[in-house]
Chain length 296, copies 2
């Protein structure tokens, strides 16, 4: 399979669906919907939605059915970026080469845009099931697992831990805890939600969740590597920022060579988790391999 073509196709599907959920101007408070739209269409890779769609495909599910869930995941991811970029948090002016939401609009609008996207994500999830009678229970389960991954036991908790760790030496164990919460939880939830909505068997859902957890950690590790090795043009932001801020990273704790080796091991383990799944899981395998060669 050609991963590049696959990613382009899926990205297009997700973008069209997101555009339908969130027209640029809607309602009297159009400034906040404008800001939501601005950040949602700021050139994201759509990794979480694509993982979700690919997991549904891997169990023979219907992509159209899982598309709203995929969109909700991207809304949650985008909200977290908007809030993380705020002056009180990471204070970032650029994201993917464009002004961050609070720079393009203002701080209050950015806070509200994040809040709006998070809320709209749950609306989208709750509205998704209606087309599909008798499976409301599955959608409630998906809402619970997405909320778990996004909330204080997941992403919100991870960002808190990340802020608390800034400027001090952390152990490898602490670093893993931060990333499992901050990025791993939502990536894992994306895969698991796709498997559930796709109608996967219990064993398949477990295998895919395992893949998701390993993928999530490998993603963060290769992200840290990119920050050391990447160029500004490739990444749309200045490299070396993590070190400048004394953010905890894997290369800082483990060294470059050991970090690279660990990423390779994790990708192998993620692929191994998919053993029981057939050809249909090939996109997920390719996505895992891609982590080791990606430049952005």
């Amino acid at each position: 399979m050609d991963l590049k073509v696959y990613l382009e196709e899926r990205r297009g599907e997700v973008n069209r669906a997101l555009e339908a959920y969130l027209p640029a101007v809607r309602g009297p408070a159009f400034r906040v919907t404008q800001a939501m739209h601005y950040s949602l269409f700021a050139g994201g890779k759509r990794l979480r939605p694509i993982l979700c769609l690919a997991a549904a495909e891997a169990v023979g599910g219907d992509r159209g059915e899982v598309l709203p869930v995929a969109c909700a995941l991207e809304m949650i991811h985008t909200y977290s970026l908007i809030h993380d970029d705020l002056p009180a948090m990471d204070d970032d002016d650029l994201r993917r080469g464009r002004p961050t939401c609070h720079k393009q609009f203002d701080e209050a609008t950015a806070i509200l845009a994040g809040d709006g996207l998070l809320t709209e994500a749950f609306h989208t999830l709750a509205a998704a099931a209606v087309r599909d009678e008798g499976r409301e229970g599955v959608m409630l389960e998906v809402i619970r697992l997405v909320a778990d991954a996004a909330g204080f036991q997941g992403m919100v908790g991870g960002q808190m831990l990340d802020l608390l760790a800034e400027g001090r030496q952390v152990t490898l164990k602490e670093l893993e805890t931060i990333h499992r919460h901050k990025t791993g939880a939502l990536l894992t939830a994306a895969v698991r939600a796709g498997a559930l909505v796709g109608g996967g068997s219990r064993a398949a859902v477990t295998a895919l969740t395992d893949y998701g957890a390993k993928f999530g950690l490998a993603f963060q590790i290769t992200d840290d590597l990119l920050d050391v090795e990447g160029s500004a043009a490739e990444m749309g932001k200045a490299p070396g920022m993590d070190e400048k801020r004394r953010k905890a990273t894997y290369p800082a704790v483990l060294g470059l060579a050991a970090t690279r080796q660990w990423a390779q091991n994790l990708v192998a383990a993620a692929i191994a988790a998919l053993q029981s799944l057939e050809e249909r899981a090939e996109p997920l395998r390719e996505l895992a391999r891609y982590l080791l060669v990606r430049r952005s």
Copy 2:
């Protein structure tokens, strides 16, 4: 009936349930759960949960069944207060006589605590239905209506409009739009959600939603009156703040006498909406009457 006793009892029920949902210290990122807990137990009146419980009672529903929904509404209300108080928004140092969340903790923690509460609210809603097989569809409907009331078409949009209106003259129509979004939507959703989960007939749900909309507007108008007429001790914040900030208020647009008269008319209309409901709706009637005499 004795409204004071009724409110105390319900408040106790809600507080116990909230305490079970959100222990002060939980998970590794306990700083953010501490902040969530701090604001959730900052002496709120629990008006939205009580409206929700009373609406369920009014249709003969089971209070225990609707309690998670009531708690979720309070989490959403609390999140909105935390974010509204932020320096970039209303920049308030005190709320109910205590330091606001970002004053007690810091700005980043307050943003995350709000995000955490909003997310936990949807988790609570999605987890509520599990006890109650066959009614998952109702809970998905409740999640949709709560998300609508909280999101860019409701509360988030209202706060945006409010910020945009600061410092300039607004018309009565604009003021109504702001408040219908900012406070009215969630109050209405609280009553409607209670009626739905309580198992109300279509006619009863419609009547209660109508009550909720009128109650919501009357609540905001009497809130504006309190800001003019109340004392700091009664309110836990400085009176006259709206005028100082040149915030749009009903007394500023309509004058005091006309504002008082309008509040009375709305309360009468809210009570009239409950005509088809029997004795069981008495707490809701009393709650509406209470708006006209409340001092905080």
